[in-house]
Symmetry: D2
Amino acid sequence: MTQKIKRIALLTGGGDCPGLNAVIRAVTRTAILQYGYEVVGYRYGYRGLYNNDYIPLTLDTVSGILHRGGTILYSSNKDNLFDYQVEEDGKMVKKDVSDVAIENMKKAGIDALVVIGGDGTLTSARDFSRKGVNVIGVPKTIDNDLAATDVTFGFNTAIDIATEALDRLHTTAESHHRIMICEVMGRNAGWIALHSGIAGSADVILIPEVPYDINKIAEKIHQRQDAGRPFSIIVVAEGAKAKDGEVVVSKIVKDSPDPIRLGGIGNKLANDLEDIIEGHEIRATILGHVQRGGTTSTYDRILSTRYGVAAAELINEGKFGNMVCLKGDDISYVSLEDVIGKDKNVDPNGELVSMAKKIGISFGE
Amino acid sequence: MTQKIKRIALLTGGGDCPGLNAVIRAVTRTAILQYGYEVVGYRYGYRGLYNNDYIPLTLDTVSGILHRGGTILYSSNKDNLFDYQVEEDGKMVKKDVSDVAIENMKKAGIDALVVIGGDGTLTSARDFSRKGVNVIGVPKTIDNDLAATDVTFGFNTAIDIATEALDRLHTTAESHHRIMICEVMGRNAGWIALHSGIAGSADVILIPEVPYDINKIAEKIHQRQDAGRPFSIIVVAEGAKAKDGEVVVSKIVKDSPDPIRLGGIGNKLANDLEDIIEGHEIRATILGHVQRGGTTSTYDRILSTRYGVAAAELINEGKFGNMVCLKGDDISYVSLEDVIGKDKNVDPNGELVSMAKKIGISFGE
Amino acid sequence: MTQKIKRIALLTGGGDCPGLNAVIRAVTRTAILQYGYEVVGYRYGYRGLYNNDYIPLTLDTVSGILHRGGTILYSSNKDNLFDYQVEEDGKMVKKDVSDVAIENMKKAGIDALVVIGGDGTLTSARDFSRKGVNVIGVPKTIDNDLAATDVTFGFNTAIDIATEALDRLHTTAESHHRIMICEVMGRNAGWIALHSGIAGSADVILIPEVPYDINKIAEKIHQRQDAGRPFSIIVVAEGAKAKDGEVVVSKIVKDSPDPIRLGGIGNKLANDLEDIIEGHEIRATILGHVQRGGTTSTYDRILSTRYGVAAAELINEGKFGNMVCLKGDDISYVSLEDVIGKDKNVDPNGELVSMAKKIGISFGE
Amino acid sequence: MTQKIKRIALLTGGGDCPGLNAVIRAVTRTAILQYGYEVVGYRYGYRGLYNNDYIPLTLDTVSGILHRGGTILYSSNKDNLFDYQVEEDGKMVKKDVSDVAIENMKKAGIDALVVIGGDGTLTSARDFSRKGVNVIGVPKTIDNDLAATDVTFGFNTAIDIATEALDRLHTTAESHHRIMICEVMGRNAGWIALHSGIAGSADVILIPEVPYDINKIAEKIHQRQDAGRPFSIIVVAEGAKAKDGEVVVSKIVKDSPDPIRLGGIGNKLANDLEDIIEGHEIRATILGHVQRGGTTSTYDRILSTRYGVAAAELINEGKFGNMVCLKGDDISYVSLEDVIGKDKNVDPNGELVSMAKKIGISFGE
């Protein structure tokens, strides 16, 4: 490719994820130190692209952010410029404003755009690429459920936090002979529950990919009790569901205005188990947003840095329309056309689940 | 005192609390190494005293437990031997079985009993003392709400965990311009919320001692927004309540079988704020039992060890009927007769609250 | 007092210490929000006062620094403006340049100065106070060895880090039946060694206040071995010394240009013990500067914030020439005239040392 | 294979490493729960095999050890039964006592042996395999320098600890404008330095694979200073060496009896840099054994568990003489004949080093 790159831009979209700042730093440092580009960052994801809201990114701007969670560029959810809510004649209407964004980039002299985000954000990245924008994607999902890459950053930090919580719950479970339920992230994929469950010495792991039978969970608890272990730890992904197809939310709140918030799977499970188990106190903990924030783990800092450097390299090589990814232990890239909508779920017959069963972990089957 | 002590016993009662094992270890080591006592531990609190369920405590038994949360003696809630549920003639009746416990101790040759527990557990300790048992109490409440001692162990660990959670929530709040609510322990006293809120850089702290006005909270959030800080962190003690006396539980679940579990103050606050605040996403995290477990903090290990050694010393000196306590930075003791039912609440006009206000923290007043 | 305060300044002097930023933040926020002062910060301690090198401190400047170690104002060691090295006629000479500093403050409209530092820094603070400058001192020593206050910030963070290191060394010691020596900070006072040693389950604690006999340490190690515990953990303060008055540094390096760096007490002890103990591998770890940095502990964040607010309050009340301090659990203040050169050492007969001995810890006596 | 397995044994050899207990637990649980084997553990590595010193491993024995560093089976260094020091006729002689070990296993009814260890330990494992013993190897090296497997357990924990130390040193470096040197493990391979250096935002990384030029390091420090960053962080692997082939140990101690202990590369570097750099204080921290111990990281707990389950599976399948390994993200195995003496070094031209250079990290070349 012949175009000379002088100025590039970054934006972060979707939910926050430990490692975003590390990517921003790595792209910026490589672009400046290695290739002599100028770098700017659009704020609040695509919204900033539409509003022409950007800041310069320099070596100073990205100093001291490697380990910090969140994103110094802020983020926004659900801002799709190809179907964007704008006011027209006093009414809110949805329209395609992508050309406004492209015009903004032209005026600002942006030669290439690095988009860091999940499935939704990357879909727009692909669409901008189709319209001729020089786009590089960087995958971001704390759930690790993207088929196009072996590991996503943020995941390791999340399982570290979930595992530490399980370590803490263990001491209470053991001292009080309780059933402790810990609900972790994972609406569609059970990776966080699976990994933290194995690392946190859980007795039962419930994931969306393996619908559970409440009676099998009770059976496991009773088995443990009979073996002199009158306490159990259950890790449940927020998207886990019962075999009988019953809705996730607890019956007692399902008519409420916001049943998910109040009656997530963790609480439902506690209620359901209390009905069929005797002599055990059951407590549910909903980890929630603490899984996403704070200090980025060592592993994620390195992975994010590798992604960021690779994104800058792809720009230098003119390989646009691609997303950086990890294959085995190698950094690689894949066309944005091939990544959208392709999830990676836990294989119920794969090595990790099989292994977990061999050491006695029940999946509620 | 004339009785020669040869054998002492320990028991732990009530909810678990980081530092229990450190107390057990310190009593045991001091008793054995310093005074040559034999030591046993009743399991499951007073229930073990009634069931004569005890184990020997040796230097080996207490090796490696200093830093571990929970209690190697297990615990139980609500076992009051002076009003104990037993089966008689096929029916469950409540009766005073304290004499059975005393008889058990006599048979086992127990010359003194160290009781580690909260208000309920210590009430029984006092009652046993009144009946002539050589009792020493050690205060335990993670909420730090006991008037008779300046600090209780477990509290420092709890605020460490809560503060770390707030640190994590900060990054998400800032990246997404969100209101993050964190519900921490504290049914009657707001110490954990107050301390972790100050340490975790909260914008609003809600505690039972200062009833809040939801509009004042909204005002604070709007003030911050106007000052260019479109995110806020709210720490709320589980026992916090609104000024208008409204019940804690959310309206939408108050008719449910278990409203507290589903609709605690954290979720209620999120719902209520959403009604009066615009343009902010609000998320609630309920820390729950992770605040009680895991590795005991440095501070709590030292405090628990001091308590444990002091308890053994009181036995040696024959000063029974007392509870060890901390006054300023000195270990001391106080009569069990003087400690029961005396709570220590946050003083709304005290130094800590005043100080917090001076750096801009709102208490929702 | 009649003078109306409009503008105040801060500076930090001496070695860095977790909590410095928390003090800076608390002074700044209280000054601005509560009293409407302007706030500036001199950079690099007194050197900045001499060079007139200061920056404005606003709510934005101090945002996000509560938990961060180090000092955003930087620091410098050994800059005494009353005996300062300056160039005159091409030669370096020492002279009193305090009047330059006072003139600088006048020109900058500084009505009061908050000085955060240790003994040396506070000595200058007192001297400026004597010359009529409105000074408030805030005590800073990670070693907790200042007589005028019960606790100094940074100390809790330091013992947290040292204790975590001891926890780590324990697993190796136990697996390999080794003697692990951990050298911690404390040139004159053994507080860090004493607290972390108790919390980290050390077998031997060596502090400057209790000169040790190497044979007694060996005796303790052999006793443990005979009791089936063929490993030991020794915590040693960098200023610990042997009873026979022998110099701290190892013989084998005492003629080297920098014996302290190479042959600190930790390594010396390892060498000396190897000569008189058989069948044990001995390993020394020198914790060094990792004890000073990183994230500030919960306890220290609160204490530093209390100090900072109190310093701003003293300014408002016109109570100059004083240093804030902690007495029991109360924030108070004391005249700078009464604090200089007054150290607080571990009492070899005090409660903590006695308590440690009762649970079997040896002090090498 | 036809032999029916009834009883298996484990042993751990060499230096301790976070994850050893997780492997022991996983082998034991899989063997008991999945295959119905009895399991025993030899204590102190091969020495226990020679002395017939073993303990039963049950579900109870391995309960609660998943996260704990060290090894419940203890370990020993340098015990090679094929060249073992024994007393004969009052003299210490070296002889092959492997047949004694084999005889011991026969008498104890051991059908298969799982050996967890590094190069030395696995060499003996191969030799026992050659003599017909049913051996499975599990690789252990905290340095991650084994060619036959992509990742070894313990490595992730080590870089977590080293990175946290670097985070701490950063605050001091920045506050005081210092050069902070951190010496980490890695005698032959620089993996720990490389990974922790990238994650801990180091400015210079020195590894055995890339001999350094002290002047280039000084150059980097001066460049940073000129760019307004008057502080630098240097991570150095203990086996790093200068280009000119100079010995690692500092000149000032090279004639001492134990130069390595006193004058490791970290201290040497500090001395050498002080000679050629002005106006900077330089401080060295030697992390040492704290890198090996304590709580095992989430990543390592999972990897160790996978290794342990795979080892038990190989026994069940009769695939003896092999070592479990990780290839990409898949658990696999390789013949013990093919693993000995094959190291994995950092490729000076590989992706990680190149990437690090692109973000501005110097390797002292």
